[in-house]
Symmetry: C2
Subunit: 360 residues, 2 copies
């Protein structure tokens, strides 16, 4: 029995992928061993790793000038690695603050870099908006402009890609990468923790233009030096082989779904259905400006928070799992990444309407 | 069909553990989701994580003054993290060089720390020995003394724990932790990549005395700051939940095997059987001084290296997998970690004798 799992991350994986993992868990490719038990430098895993990268490149149409790295440490490690690799300690770096994850990124950058310039901060809207298109002005000579295209907690999403005006754009795409087509060439560097749309936690994908690597500041640990890792095919140290293998299966699954155009259309439909349900009710609400509502993470509140425990208990009993909002904000949150089928959102919406009718 | 898998790492896991992982892969604890798909902060995973730590503490009788951390990045990340956490940039740090992994550790330390003092180097023996007991003299005032109790490539192992003489002892136990009982109180810090005796690659266990944390140098990234990680129960960022869960199953399995005294006795018997076979043949040889031969990694050569391809092909066909030596040294290597049953070594030994009879 599988539930509809709305967890924000680690999040649901496609059931078909998990079934394949299960089928070959103790004997992968007829080798008499699990993929977890084999050398990352052996031919079988090397082939799987290369196929994973090739499929990811195909899905996102990643230009040849970009390196794709499979690293450890999650987005939080990248908060530091980006600064250490792209900016000398005294160089100015620009950050956009649109909520909890932007703030974590810039707080970590402040530990490492002298001049962290917050070029936009959406505090005035209580982080329910993003900067108006065209309004972002990078600092002249900044090493990069960092932003968070999708805020997993706030449910706020950029409906556009900012113009770096010559300053490399760095994006934490942990909760949005692979959710729709993307023009990679607009970015200097994209990073994403795997545990939303890619695979198991413990893997981080970094897509970086080759012009930005090779400039890590002195004292950058080898495993965090993009150039050192790129030169070794992400195998300077033992990579997280199982997570990389699962990511490869997810990429293959995305391709079988019709690629990112098809996946994106389905994600838009899922989000529209859920927001429409919220907006047409007098009982549920979502605070985010309509133009920048996330397709991936939909926070919502009930008219009476005393009904929250009942909502959670009854939805859980109905096979709709992990709808509690982030501990910092409360309420509800439905994370509807790629692996959530439309049927899951339809079931949720039907439950929400029924709950409102009975308890609203 | 499962082979006897002699891979050095990622290495064999207990078949019973993998079978449990498989059984609950798509529905863990009746939650209708995989353990990979659930929040690390939810009650089910928190309970599993805490049980894993408690079982590890019980197995190694870890004193309460030590923190146990579940991190990412492998031993190679710790090569840097140890220096960043335990030593100011200009402080002297001591390293013992007994082979490939020691050398990697001290090379990384040199990138980060001004004064790396190599207090012993076994180059004269071509790294087939360790320093004589009692001969190591830490530098007065050194931040720590780092050594590698077991060299995975050279198959060289310390038969004793060095005396730090007041300087905290730091040990890379990636390939030996949990292979036998250990007196943790002799160490300041122990670290181990998981992929030999603990679980899937992508997890690193750090056991550190609380007096050594809280002194990370300025600019240490948060996810590499032992104090920051200890304060957050290793969940400052999303941990590698699947690897942590498997590690917990492995710890439980070790307990069911009778704990580390029983496991150690079995490991000694496995190693003795293999070394005896090598030493009593005129065909196989192992270059390591008898007193410091590894229980975990047994490199050996054939009298005629032209027979290597035949040995590898025939052993593979006999269900004895991954016996090729490390790419840097060639020959053969049998890694016989905890998950390798005595029957595996018995089968290998029988094959070796038969091969020698036919081809020697």
């Amino acid at each position: 029995m599988r539930v509809f799992n709305f967890a924000a991350g680690p999040a649901a994986l496609p059931t078909e992928v998990l079934e394949q993992v299960r089928a070959e868990l103790t004997d992968w490719q007829g080798l008499g061993a699990s993929v977890m038990e084999l050398s990352h430098r052996g031919k079988p895993f090397m082939a799987a790793a290369q196929e994973a990268e090739a499929t990811l490149r195909e899905l996102l149409a990643i230009p040849a000038a970009y390196k794709v790295l499979f690293l450890q440490g999650g987005a939080t490690a990248q908060f530091a690695a980006v600064a250490m690799n792209l900016a000398a300690a005294e160089r100015t770096v620009d950050y956009v603050n649109t909520g909890a994850w932007s703030k974590k990124a810039l707080t970590e950058a402040r530990r490492l870099t002298g001049r962290v310039n917050v070029v936009a901060d959406e505090a005035a809207s209580n982080y329910t908006t993003v900067p108006e298109q065209g309004s972002l002005r990078p600092t002249a000579g900044a090493a990069y402009l960092h932003y968070t295209p999708n805020e997993t907690i706030g449910g706020v999403e950029f409906p556009y890609v900012p113009d770096g005006a010559g300053v490399p754009l760095v994006a934490d795409m942990s909760s949005t990468l692979l959710s729709r087509p993307l023009e990679v060439a607009r970015f200097g560097l994209i990073y994403a923790g795997a545990q939303k749309n890619i695979g198991p936690a413990g893997l981080t994908v970094v897509i970086v233009h080759e012009a930005l690597i090779g400039h890590a500041r002195a004292g950058t640990p080898a495993v965090w030096d993009y150039k050192a890792m790129a030169d070794e095919g992400s195998m300077l140290n033992t990579p997280p082989v199982f997570a990389w293998y699962v990511a490869g299966l997810v990429f293959r699954w995305l391709k079988a779904q019709g690629g990112l155009a098809a996946v994106g259309a389905r994600n838009r439909a899922k989000a529209q259905l859920l927001y429409r349900t919220i907006d047409t009710s007098g009982f549920y609400s979502n605070p985010v400006a309509v133009s920048c509502r996330s397709w991936m993470n939909v926070p919502f509140t009930l008219a009476d928070p005393r009904l929250d425990p009942g909502f959670l208990a009854e939805s859980h009993a109905a096979g709709l799992a992990n709808l509690a909002g982030h501990r910092s904000v409360g309420g509800m949150r439905a994370s509807i990444y790629n692996a959530m089928p439309l049927a899951g959102v339809e079931t949720l919406v039907a439950f929400m309407k029924d709950f409102e009718r009975r308890r609203g």
